[in-house]
């Protein structure tokens, strides 16, 4: 009971501080009183952080007097999954969301404390206070995490089985939330710039900085999510165009468009209204995504929580877009520039092409996600929009983006000289062609792979060429380390990551080989070029689960696919795949069935298979590991951009 009130009082304090911050910022705007944002933001952060600590404490001590703990924790839940259990359902997720938002709000206030009375900063923090107040009020009302549980619970229910099977539950959701919540900052600055009409100063660059931070977290979060489902779900895939996956992808697409087009604004002063629209759209899509995840309107494999928050979220979405659109309509003309893109094949022209692809793809994904609802509303029949629809667009869009990445980084601004451009891409073009011919001679005849590899090598060449130029310039200055902080370094490292990711995706999906093999103990066989051996059974038990493992050798290495039975739920079991991964290929092995007259808890018995034999599902996917390595590069590049130096001719008045 104490915890209930400790938690609630913390939430109320945070709520009060956020509302106080709103009032203080409005006063500062109207009367010019000194800003008190620092005080209010820190008090709000302290409140929400205390609430979070109370919740963590309740989980770690298995305090079932909180209903949320009783539903998502059990006495036998290990410490790690007790800690992560806090965000395994709706109320705790919003608590984590508010904590990240409170931290970001304080970070913004502290970073601009010397300009705390600048109207742009006042407006931006005001907007962030409003967003923070919205989520805190949601917790004070409809999604209260601190509901008392009167029943005497002995053991608790434990988290959803899928949420206590992998350490990534500690990393993937917080990163994803950091990405989602992080887009509040560029949105706040967009509103601030629209309200004050000041888009010509350093604020767009500051805005980009925060966007890249959120974008990096979201990118790594998405890749880790794919990695998680790849390891856990047992079908060897990493992306399923599930509505919740789409919800994370939508703001990522518009943010990627924004990160590119704002560069044109810095260098040429163009696209101001467009960039502000993208910042608003990105934030609005995070709210819409949260609606898709939490409303229960769309069905998905991520149905860990559905709630009554739908109407609240969709109203907030509409208000957000409405506010942005109204401000743009009111202020838009004053922000426009008289000049435009002079040549479609100049650098800025190619940025336009990039934006068309990203935004177009976002629209296609949004349509595909909402379409089942529209169709049902009109025809009364339920349909699902599956991978073929999305893949039909994702393939060409990906190819086009690789082509842009191969050319855009080396094309000059404003004007176009065919000779200059050709001289810059000549070497990489020949290398790409040579690589493609070698692959062709080596027996690769799948044309999407050939095209993708050709363009990927060219894109890597363009990025490498830029990086070499940066290093040479740094060496001439006698300060080689400054290359890390050069304006183009971070972006080109991310490009290299995207190239690796693209190659991983294209090659692994084009050359996947799936098969089932039946092996007796001590037998081995060759599948998809891999020697697979079966060495017998092993039983492993702990407080959380019981596993029947198979000792399987791939080449000389041993992996252990298993069937796992979790404690605390009915006797149903899940398959736990095992993966032997190296830089050339992944071998993904699942325990599919056992032979007759065998008894292994949870395992399927297959007739026609001898006793003591097992049926293994073996999937061989070449170059899959590069997908995760590409993700690492993207994260590293995003981190680099935090220390980025400004371009010499970037605007600054």
């Amino acid at each position: 009971m104490t915890l209930v009130w400790l938690g609630r009082i913390s939430i109320y304090l945070a709520c009060f501080a956020a509302l106080g911050g709103i009032g203080a910022q409005v006063l500062t705007l109207r009367r010019g009183t000194p800003s008190r944002a620092l005080l209010w933001s820190v008090v709000s952060l302290v409140g929400v952080a205390s609430a979070f600590v109370v919740m963590e404490f309740a989980f770690v001590t298995h305090n079932f007097s909180l209903a949320y703990v009783a539903e998502n924790n059990a006495t036998f839940t290990p410490l790690l999954y007790s800690l992560t259990g806090v965000w395994s359902a709706l109320e705790g997720s919003i608590l984590l969301w508010s904590l990240v938002l409170g931290g970001l709000l304080s970070a913004v206030v502290v970073r601009y404390r010397r300009e705390a009375s600048d109207p742009v900063v006042v407006w931006a923090t005001l907007v962030m206070f409003v967003v923070a107040a919205f989520f805190l009020l949601v917790m004070a009302g409809p999604a209260d995490p601190f509901v008392h549980n009167p029943a005497h619970v002995l053991q608790g229910q434990g988290p959803n089985a899928l949420l206590q099977d992998n350490i990534l539950v500690a990393i993937h959701p917080p990163l994803l939330y950091t990405g989602f919540v992080g887009f509040t900052v560029p949105f706040a600055f967009a509103i601030a710039m629209l309200a004050t009409g000041r888009v010509h100063e350093r604020w767009p660059l500051e805005q980009r900085h925060w966007t890249v931070l959120a974008w990096g977290a979201l990118s790594v979060g998405i890749v880790l999510g794919s990695w998680w489902s790849y390891q856990v779900l047992g079908w060897g895939g990493f992306w399923g165009w599930d509505p919740v996956e789409n919800a994370a992808l939508l703001p990522w697409l518009t943010a990627t468009a924004y990160i590119h087009s704002v560069v044109v604004q810095d260098r040429r002063g163009l696209f101001r209204v467009w960039n502000l629209s993208l910042a608003v759209a990105t934030f609005a899509l995070t709210i819409l995504g949260t609606f898709f995840t939490r409303s229960g309107v769309l069905q998905s494999v991520h149905a860990f929580a559905s709630s009554t928050l739908g109407p609240v979220l969709i109203s907030f979405f509409f208000v957000t877009v409405g506010l942005g659109v109204a401000l743009i309509a009111w202020r838009g003309d004053a922000l426009r520039t008289a000049t435009g893109v002079e040549h479609p094949l100049s650098r800025e022209g190619l940025f336009v092409a990039n934006n068309i692809v990203f935004v177009g793809f976002a629209i296609v994904v949004l349509l595909g996600t909402v379409f089942p609802l529209l169709y049902q509303a009109i025809n009364g029949v339920q349909v699902t929009v599956g991978t073929p629809y999305f893949a039909a667009i994702a393939g060409p869009a990906g190819i086009f983006l690789l082509a842009l990445m191969a050319v855009a980084p080396v094309v000059p601004w404003r004007s176009v000289s065919g000779a200059t451009t050709w001289s810059r891409i000549r070497t990489t073009a020949w290398v790409s062609l040579a690589t493609t011919v070698v692959l062709l001679l080596a027996g690769v005849h799948h044309w999407p792979v050939l095209v993708a590899v050709f363009l990927a090598v060219a894109a890597a060449g363009a990025a490498t060429r830029t990086l070499v130029g940066v290093v040479q310039a740094a060496r001439q200055r006698g300060d080689l380390w400054s290359a890390w902080r050069a304006p183009s370094t971070a972006g080109m490292v991310v490009h290299l990551g995207v190239v690796l990711l693209a190659i991983g995706i294209v090659v692994s999906t084009s050359y996947t080989s799936r098969s089932e093999v039946t092996l007796a103990s001590g037998q081995r066989t060759v599948v998809g070029g891999q020697t697979i051996g079966f060495g017998g059974f092993a039983q492993v038990s702990n407080a959380l689960e019981h596993q029947t493992q198979l000792v399987v050798t791939v080449g000389g290495r041993t992996i252990r696919p298993a069937i796992t039975t979790f404690n605390g739920r009915s006797s149903q079991s899940v398959g736990t795949p095992a993966i032997d991964s190296n830089l050339l290929r992944d071998v993904y092995v699942t325990f599919d069935a056992i032979g007759q007259n065998s008894s292994v808890s949870g395992a399927q018995v297959q007739t026609g298979v001898a006793a003591g034999s097992v049926v293994l599902g073996v999937t061989v996917e070449p170059l899959l590991a590069w997908l995760w390595i590409g993700g690492l590069f993207i994260g590293f590049g995003s981190a680099l951009s935090m220390g980025r130096r400004r371009h010499r001719d970037e605007v600054g008045q």
Binding site: A161, I314, F318, V370, T384, V574, A603
Partner: protein, 175 residues
């Protein structure tokens, strides 16, 4: 120039407004409750081997509210409702409510893959000859029967069901 921004803003607002209104008025997807001839009758037997080993018998669950869900791995709406059934089974497992799947018109291998893909948290009986489905009059999956503690069929739901709907029906039946 001036008009294009205002018009663009208006158009955006209209589209987003329509989308918001549309989403606001959506109900969480759920099945329709139908008057089947089995309502109020003693539930036909459900027994046999489970996917992944073990056996099940409905008779052994007298005293529990049992949710019997007929499904097949090739059925698209079944894919939609599978996570809901898992969530529901998970939520209710301490409340004398039992969820059992009956998989019919299917191969064991693909049913097994389906259950693994969706991380099913409830067992399923293999209705190899379609006999259970025949006695329940089920022709197309998904169809769900809710059987009360006395073994009487209390509700029939045709189409993919949801956690909210199942919770509502089960609460009504339990009273």
């Amino acid at each position: 120039m001036k008009r294009s921004i205002a018009l663009g803003a208006l158009a955006t607002l209209l589209v987003v407004g329509a989308l918001s209104w549309f989403l606001l008025t959506r109900q969480p997807i759920s099945a329709s409750s139908v008057q089947s001839p089995l309502l109020g009758k003693v539930a036909p037997a459900v027994s046999g081997a489970e996917l992944g080993g073990g056996t099940f018998s409905l008779a052994a669950h007298r005293g529990d509210v049992v949710v019997v869900n007929f499904w097949s791995s090739w059925c698209e709406p079944c894919k939609q409702e599978a996570p809901n059934l898992s969530t529901f089974a998970w939520q209710q497992r301490a409340h004398k409510v039992f969820v059992i799947g009956v998989v019919f018109n299917d191969t064991v291998a693909s049913a097994e893959t389906f259950a693994r893909y969706y991380g099913s948290l409830y067992p399923s009986v293999i209705d190899a000859q379609g006999a259970i489905a025949f006695h329940y009059g089920v022709t197309s999956p998904p169809t769900t029967f809710v059987i009360n503690a006395k073994g009487i069929v209390a509700a029939t739901l045709v189409g993919p069901t949801t956690v909210a709907q199942l919770t509502q029906v089960v609460n009504r039946v339990a009273q």
